[in-house]
């Protein structure tokens, strides 16, 4: 019983790492530009599909496909930004509508290119078991990408707090006019945010490809997951994304072990709603909306 619980928590933490990776790009763009990119899940899935094609046509491993996925996802991310930048009014609402439509376009493009067949990597090395201390089981992919997730969360946090461009991204988010008076070109900063989000989405996509199976509808599901975790974390909080993701992951894993597999998503949603009822601003969100 206890071991079952411990295993569930361990699995949940690892899954949380993966979820954080999926959510991070969305959280960054949401926190800095107040734009909810509903096509984010499709970017993650696109990275996975590029890795699939690379494996099939170029016979390279998913890890070696990362640079290729990065290029493709970055191009699409910039395209999304260019389209978004034409919105002149009601940016928050209109960007929701625009990116939702873009998500549908991307999903159907992936359906056209790769068909609805379920794909998975032939590098089964990733799905083989890894054991921690003789008792805790997971796949190799889960462990590797959990660590990758930690590195990227820490890296993003350092970039935002310590680097010139990261600070500029935060400044534009805080007060756009004032940032311009500091010599910041807001357009450049926003493109940069999208590129970083694309980078994060790429790693999430490779994690997805090595750990699970992929098919076109997954993009939408990923966006929803990312959005829930972003809101749960509290707007603009990077550490919150990791914590929120792990809470969801653990809740799901415990539900699978002790209740029922089919209720895992429901359990995650219930946790989400419960947190929001108690703390509407999210786990680490600021109390009031700044002007």
């Amino acid at each position: 019983m206890f071991e079952l619980g411990l295993q569930a928590i361990y699995s949940g933490v690892l899954t949380g790492g993966y979820y954080a990776l999926v959510a991070l790009g969305l959280a960054l763009v949401f926190g800095t530009m107040r734009v909810i990119n509903l096509a984010h899940g499709e970017l993650v899935l696109l990275a996975a599909y590029v890795a699939y094609s690379a494996e099939v046509h170029l016979a390279i491993s998913p890890i070696a496909a990362i640079p290729l996925s990065l290029v493709v996802v970055s191009l699409v991310a910039v395209l999304v930004y260019v389209l978004l930048s034409h919105i002149t009014r009601d940016r928050e609402l209109n960007s929701l509508i625009l990116t939702y439509g873009l998500g549908i376009v991307l999903t159907n493009l992936m359906l056209l290119i790769w068909s609805a067949d379920i794909r998975s990597t032939t590098a089964t090395w990733f799905q083989e078991g890894a054991v921690l201390g003789d008792t805790l089981y997971s796949s190799r992919s889960e462990v590797i990408f959990f660590l990758v997730s930690l590195v990227l969360v820490a890296g993003l946090w350092f970039w935002l707090t310590r680097s010139w461009h990261g600070r500029a991204v935060r400044a534009v988010s805080s007060n756009r006019d004032a940032a311009m008076l500091m010599g910041v070109n807001p357009r450049t900063t926003e493109v940069l945010s999208f590129l970083v989000a694309g980078l994060l989405a790429t790693f999430a996509g490779i994690a997805l490809y090595t750990g699970k199976t992929i098919d076109p509808p997954l993009g939408h599901a990923l966006t929803i997951k990312a959005f829930i975790i972003t809101v749960l974390a509290g707007m603009g909080s990077i550490p919150g994304v990791l914590l929120g993701a792990m809470l969801i992951g653990i809740t799901e894993a415990l539900t699978i072990s002790f209740v029922s597999t089919s209720l895992q998503d429901l359990a995650g949603m219930v946790l989400f709603l419960a947190v929001l009822l108690l703390r509407p601003q999210g786990l680490f969100g600021f109390g009031t909306r700044r002007g």
């Binding site: 600070r167 007060n175 311009m180």
Partner: protein
Amino acid sequence: MQHPALEVREVQAGYGPINVLWDVSAAARAGTTTTILGPNGAGKTTLLRAIMGLVKVRSGAIEIDGQPRTGNATWDMVRDGVILVPEGRLIFRDMTVEDNLLMGAYPARSRPRAASNLDDVYQLLPRLKERRRQLAGSLSGGEAQMVAIGRGLMEEPQIFLIDEPSLGLAPVVVDEIFAILRKQKELGRTIVLVEQNTHMALSLADHVYLMQSGRIILSRTAGEIDINHLHDLYFARETAT
């Protein structure tokens, strides 16, 4: 004769269909303090924002050291050393005091000296050093104004535009702020100061402009100013000749 550090000539500018500045011409000589006075709505803030490229200039010219800079983007003006401490401070409320000051060093030319400039600003404004890790949004009005000025100083201004620094501050705090500005004047900075507090502004000014309804109605060196005449014009008890 040398070009003025900053000059605007017959500038018309405004917001959308509304024109605010009508044929505004003014100049600031290097190393001097130029003060722009006037009641609310006179266009003083619009003039500074137009210089910084935040408000669209419809006609007229803006020049730095005789070089045309009309229509430049805000970040290009900053790169040329024209720095604005805006009305209302516009500090980054959800960033720390130190992060606010460091944002001042963002222009590429200032970055190499960011650390030493930060030390200088903390020496000048010790209260900021005490509160360096505090969120800027939690500061008092006077402290926020110090952050705004400190942030401007981090940008190593060639031309320092300051918009209504005394707004909303208690008299004791206003004295502190003006002491800081006086120090900058003594260091030889080229300052353009917009103020409603005429007493303070005149004590610093080398040259005075008075604006009303989007026009310059008076231009005098500080020594020539008759304060009563100024107040008559200010409150439109008489029209300018």
